[in-house]
């Protein structure tokens, strides 16, 4: 019988740049749309239904000296194929829970200490590229851009003996379902949203506006809101403890936000340029940028975290170095990658207009995030 490999174990291999041979037995279109990404991973995609008569035809395409992981959508087919490979004399594991579980796995990584002894954590959603944050200080916690796997956050805070006091979304997300409101309801924390993104929401929220300052813990870790429109009209960044810039979907490590997911690329391209080239330029170049997404595995640091100094990004990020305004507008409004799957339904869910069940939510989020332009 083949062994199960957990999403956490695969995440370790991604972080450590280990080698892995991934036999993905989903159909071709699903594989081409979205797969497990690792720097030193190799891939073979053969749908499970082409292997029902046996795995002999593909044995010579699978190197004998590499660790082998079979992957499918929900696990069932990968167990079958991994067992067949074992019977044929190959050692094989299958991905426990399949891509469904991969899409939901969150790996907490400590980014650094705060001045008063508090801590900043990044939650890496490795399969989808979403990044969430928890700021902990003196028994209190704040969460930024939480995903819908809310228990991971509430359990983590409980583990750290911290009460969740504030939950923020930097903007109305279009690529994944926010867990912010649910966490706030469960813990009694305040849920903050930029009002310009929240015009159509069906629930109560606190208005997140430029200059708002929220304190966490008795020694006052400050979370300072910086209005930074462009990805959405309400997009807001945070400066935390004068050290970190949580940039939401405005600025990434190797790319910048796209302004078109609410249908207004033309209008918002100017806002995006203003935010990146003026507002961000006025901030300290020593701030460590912590974005809400990564797009490619190369953006991960050695410990699996995703961060870079603002000054370095001004020097190296292509999207911050386009002199010509027309060229910039062209980059962010033409030849954009396809829009995220179900992004309209995801926006409506985040506004509280529709309440799909968990299985439906999962299905809506399947696939990579596509919030950036490079």
């Amino acid at each position: 019988m083949a062994n199960a490999m957990t999403a956490k174990e695969v995440t370790k291999k991604v972080f450590n740049n280990e080698e892995l041979f991934v036999l993905d037995v989903r159909n071709e279109s699903d594989f081409n749309d979205w797969k497990i990404e690792g720097k030193d991973f190799e891939y073979l995609n053969v749908p499970y239904f082409d292997l029902l008569d046996g795995v002999e035809p593909i044995l010579d395409k699978i190197p004998a000296d590499k660790e082998l992981l079979v992957v499918c959508a929900k696990e069932g087919s990968s167990v079958m194929v991994a067992d067949m490979l074992e019977e044929a004399g190959r050692e094989a594991s299958y991905l426990q829970g399949g891509m469904k579980t991969w899409s939901e796995h969150l790996e907490p990584v400590k980014v650094g200490d705060l001045k008063d002894g508090g801590e900043m954590y990044q939650f890496v959603r490795i399969g989808k590229g979403c990044l969430s944050y928890m700021i902990i200080s003196n028994g209190e916690a704040a969460i930024v851009d939480a995903t819908r796997m809310t228990e991971v956050f509430t359990d983590f805070a409980a583990d750290k003996n911290a009460d969740i006091k504030h939950v923020f979304d930097t903007h109305l997300h279009a690529d994944h379902i926010s867990g912010g409101r649910k966490i706030a309801e469960k813990t009694g924390a305040s849920y903050w949203l930029p009002p310009k993104d929240a015009e159509e929401v069906t629930f109560e929220y606190k208005r997140l506006e430029d200059g708002n300052e929220v304190l966490i813990g008795s020694t006052k870790i400050s979370i300072q809101a910086v209005y930074s429109p462009g990805h959405t009209i309400g997009s807001t960044s945070f400066v935390v403890d004068d050290q970190y810039l949580l940039s939401g979907d405005i600025l990434f490590i190797d790319s910048i936000g796209r302004p078109d997911l609410a249908g207004k690329a033309g209008d918002w391209a100017g806002d995006l340029r203003e935010t990146l080239y003026k507002r961000y330029k006025e901030l300290s170049s020593e701030l460590v940028v912590l974005p809400a997404h990564f797009m490619i595995i190369d953006e991960l640091n050695e410990d699996g975290s995703v961060s870079e100094k603002l000054g370095t990004l001004f020097a190296e990020n292509h999207g911050l170095n386009i002199e010509d305004e027309v060229g910039f507008r062209k980059l962010v409004s033409e030849n954009l990658p396809p829009q995220p799957n179900s992004y309209q339904e995801i926006r409506e869910t985040n506004m509280g207009k529709i309440s799909p069940d968990e299985e439906k939510q999962r299905e809506m989020e399947i696939g990579p995030n596509r919030c950036a332009v490079r």
Binding site: S29, D30, P47, Y48, K74, G76
Partner: protein, 75 residues
């Protein structure tokens, strides 16, 4: 439509709907039609791709209150 055989694969998870479909289609003649019922949502893409790779023809499929129905003509 003249259906030769009906396969009930409701409640079964991937890969069983396709495993059973493959068996059932082996039991009918070329040109005959197999009707498949399943509740596994992945079946839509998988059966479409499977019929393409095996030379059978997916005549149509529909969602009947959560039960996915497929009609496949053996190639």
């Amino acid at each position: 439509m003249n259906v030769t055989k009906v396969l009930d694969a409701k409640g079964l998870a991937c890969p069983m709907p396709i495993v059973k479909t493959k068996k059932a289609i082996a039991e009918i003649e070329s040109g005959q039609v197999l009707e498949i019922h399943t509740t596994d949502k992945g079946a839509v893409k998988d059966l479409t791709a499977w019929t393409e790779s095996t030379g059978h023809e997916l005549l149509k499929h529909e969602d009947d209150n959560g039960v996915l129905k497929f009609w496949v003509k053996k190639g």
